[in-house]
């Protein structure tokens, strides 16, 4: 909590101060979301995040969730500076554990500052982020909650249009993530990660029917990541990722936006047990329905294949194979308020012993646009 307090003080200073050399153009804007969710968990998957094993195969949780997002932008001719703060609070009540029922509470905050400058040769972006997550009364599996951490990242990028329809970009990114485990759970420290990434890509825009704003973008990218897990001995991972993203915007004519992502990863390491190939496919569709409704659908599938035999799930790695499906229907009520209802299904499996983790979630919520 002390760390969260320091973080909030820092966020307040940056947010309310702002750079003196840039003229303020916009007030503070953002959103507040309140939600109630019912979640059903099943599985026999064992995770590194909790020392206690509860042999319940299925548990149930009711969650109350609050999210806020606040942003402020400053702009002056070709320069723009944005500050964004967001936070999430979740309080759960659980039932179905054999040993005792838990009441976990999580709070996460992040602060992002983004500087953009349009130069003659292209556009420069500098992005700094810091985020923290805290959790109390952490539950054992099968109710998986991500552990607490403090993370920061720095990203510098440059993009330029090489023709009217084509652009290229390059980024370098550094990330540090420090997991905060209780003293009885020092294995969480094995998840600590330092990562350096070089990323390059290009995109091509195709315009739709003349006289409309319809367009689509095809993007291809390649990245190299060097990752270190300081408390896992000398482990050094070298990841190569290639992928593409297709984005279709038919908002004006059909009220539809679609994003398709596909990527592959080759992970090689000086520790042979974590060498694998992985693939990921994700699709998101946003469909406007009538005057006030919006339908959101997302599907994600990921698969992983280790080069050598595995005896256990390696700390720092996610479950081997996973699928997520999510859907939400929202309606604009007016006065900046929208109501939403949705559900999701998540299943993760590991190749090691066929263990699985599954979550089904239903929720209803209200979104309020904020403006000052």
């Amino acid at each position: 909590m002390r760390r969260a307090g320091v973080f909030l003080a820092l966020a307040f200073l940056v947010f309310c101060g702002g750079p003196r050399t840039l003229e303020a153009q916009l007030g503070i804007g953002g959103s507040l979301t309140g939600r109630t969710a019912l979640e059903l968990y099943r599985g026999d998957f064992s995770a590194v995040t909790h020392p206690i094993v509860d042999s319940a195969e299925s548990v149930i949780a009711v969650a109350s969730e609050w999210e806020f997002l606040l942003g402020r932008a400053f702009a002056h001719s070709s320069r723009r500076f944005e500050v964004t703060v967001d936070g999430t609070l979740q309080q759960f009540a659980t039932a179905g554990f054999l040993q005792r029922n838990y009441a976990p509470r999580t709070q996460s905050f992040s602060l992002q500052t983004l500087y953009t400058e349009r130069l003659e040769a292209g556009t420069l972006t500098l992005d700094a982020q810091v985020g923290t997550r805290g959790i109390s009364d952490l539950t054992p599996m099968p109710l998986y909650l991500p552990p607490g951490y403090l993370a920061y990242s720095l990203d510098a990028g440059f993009s330029r249009r090489v023709s009217e329809n084509t652009g290229v970009d390059a980024h370098v990114r550094f990330q540090d993530r420090d997991y905060a485990g209780p003293s009885v759970l020092q294995t969480l420290d094995y998840l600590d990660l330092r990562s350096f990434e070089v990323h390059a890509g290009g995109d091509r825009v195709s315009y739709g029917t003349p006289g409309t704003d319809d367009y689509s973008t095809l993007r291809v990218f390649a990245a190299y990541l060097h990752q270190r897990y300081p408390l896992q001995g000398h482990r050094r991972d070298h990841k190569v990722q290639v992928g593409s993203r297709w984005y279709l915007d038919r908002w004006e004519t059909w009220g539809l936006r679609v994003t398709l992502d596909a990527s592959g990863i080759l992970n090689r390491s000086n520790s042979s047990r974590v060498e694998y190939n992985a693939a990921r496919i994700a699709a998101t569709a946003r469909q406007r329905l009538g005057e006030r409704y919006l339908l959101l659908l997302t599907g994600i599938w990921s698969g992983k294949s280790y080069l050598g035999p595995q005896e256990f799930l390696v700390p720092g790695e996610e479950a081997d194979n996973a699928a997520i499906f999510e859907g939400e229907l929202s309606r604009v009520l007016g006065a900046g308020i929208s109501v939403s209802a949705g559900g999701s299904w998540t299943r993760a499996e590991t190749n090691i012993s066929g263990d699985y983790y599954q979550r089904v979630r239903f929720y209803v919520g209200l979104d309020k646009i904020l403006g000052f």
């Binding site: 999430t88 970009d169 919006l294 790695e317 604009v332």
Partner: protein
């Protein structure tokens, strides 16, 4: 230098010692002239945009009188399309006006300080030197007058008055009635424009709410897509930077709504003013319709 410091103590406002000399006045004058040129340019742009805007409003008024639906449909998007341009022109003009005013105040302060310095020197100067000091003092006086005349009262940025619709002593009741009728026609046009603005603001606010929902969907702030056991691995997370080039000139939905709300306020003020004036004319006519 000592003399400068003594003078400085007597000069109101905040001036550093290095600002009390002829060079400081000349550099402030050069800066003032540069800023004034920008002010004149932005003022001309604002004037030109305002003329076009008024012309469109007048055309819309005529189209309303003729009940010409085709012309109305053609003109309303043009008027709405000018909102951004008008907002930019007004912002730039206001900024240039403020810069010009600041530069003018700085120049006048430096002239005042330098004149005080010159008058101190006059007390001790011999006759030969006194002439040149007096010449310089007069030159500063002339420069100050020129700048103060240029600055004058600040022009308010409002929609134009309608002097031809003022009630004049020589107006006959028929003329007053005609003027009141024209004002009421104008109020009716502005009422329809306000309806259009309301529906456009409403439409954009719905779009903004949808954008907000879609942004929340992308962000995953509660970490609902995290999987056991770690974060940032090669599973459902992964790299996918959105590196589409940023269009800094493209106003956001929130900015567009803000522009329209400002315009609505401006139009509402003018509508109320025309309404009041029409009522005043009707009162003078003794309530004659």
């Amino acid at each position: 230098m000592l003399r400068c410091l003594i003078v400085l103590a007597a000069v109101p406002g905040v001036l550093d010692a290095q600002d009390v000399n002829r060079d400081a006045v000349d550099s402030a004058h050069t800066a003032y002239l540069d800023v004034y040129e920008v002010y004149e340019d932005t003022k001309a742009t604002w004037g030109e945009v305002t003329t076009r805007w008024e012309s469109l409003i007048a055309d819309l008024e005529q189209a309303d009188r003729r009940d010409d639906e085709a012309a109305r449909n053609r003109l309303r998007p043009l008027i709405q399309g000018m909102v951004g341009e008008r907002g930019d022109a007004r912002r730039e003009f206001r900024k240039a006006e403020a810069d010009w005013y600041d530069a003018g105040r700085t120049l006048i302060r430096r002239i005042g300080a330098y004149q005080l310095y010159l008058s101190n020197r006059l007390l001790e100067a011999d006759e030969e030197s006194q002439d040149s000091l007096l010449d310089e003092y007069d030159e500063m006086d002339a420069l100050r007058d020129e700048v103060e005349n240029q600055m004058g009262p600040q022009e308010p940025l409002t929609l134009p008055e309608m002097p031809d619709l003022e009630a004049m002593p020589e107006n006959t009741p028929a003329e007053l009635r005609r003027k009141a009728g024209r004002l009421e026609d104008h109020v009716a046009v502005l009422d329809r424009l306000l309806d259009d603005l309301d529906s456009e603001i409403g439409r954009l606010e719905i779009d903004l709410q949808r954008e907000n929902t879609m942004r929340r969907w992308e962000r995953d702030p509660g970490g609902r897509r995290n999987l056991p056991t770690g974060v940032g691995g090669a599973g459902a997370g992964g790299t996918g930077a959105d590196t589409t080039e940023v269009d800094l000139d493209e106003p956001t939905l929130a900015q567009k709504i803000e522009e329209l709300k400002q315009l609505k306020e401006e139009v509402t003020d003018n509508r109320d003013r025309f309404q009041e004036r029409a009522e005043e004319l009707r009162r003078r006519l003794g309530g004659t319709p």
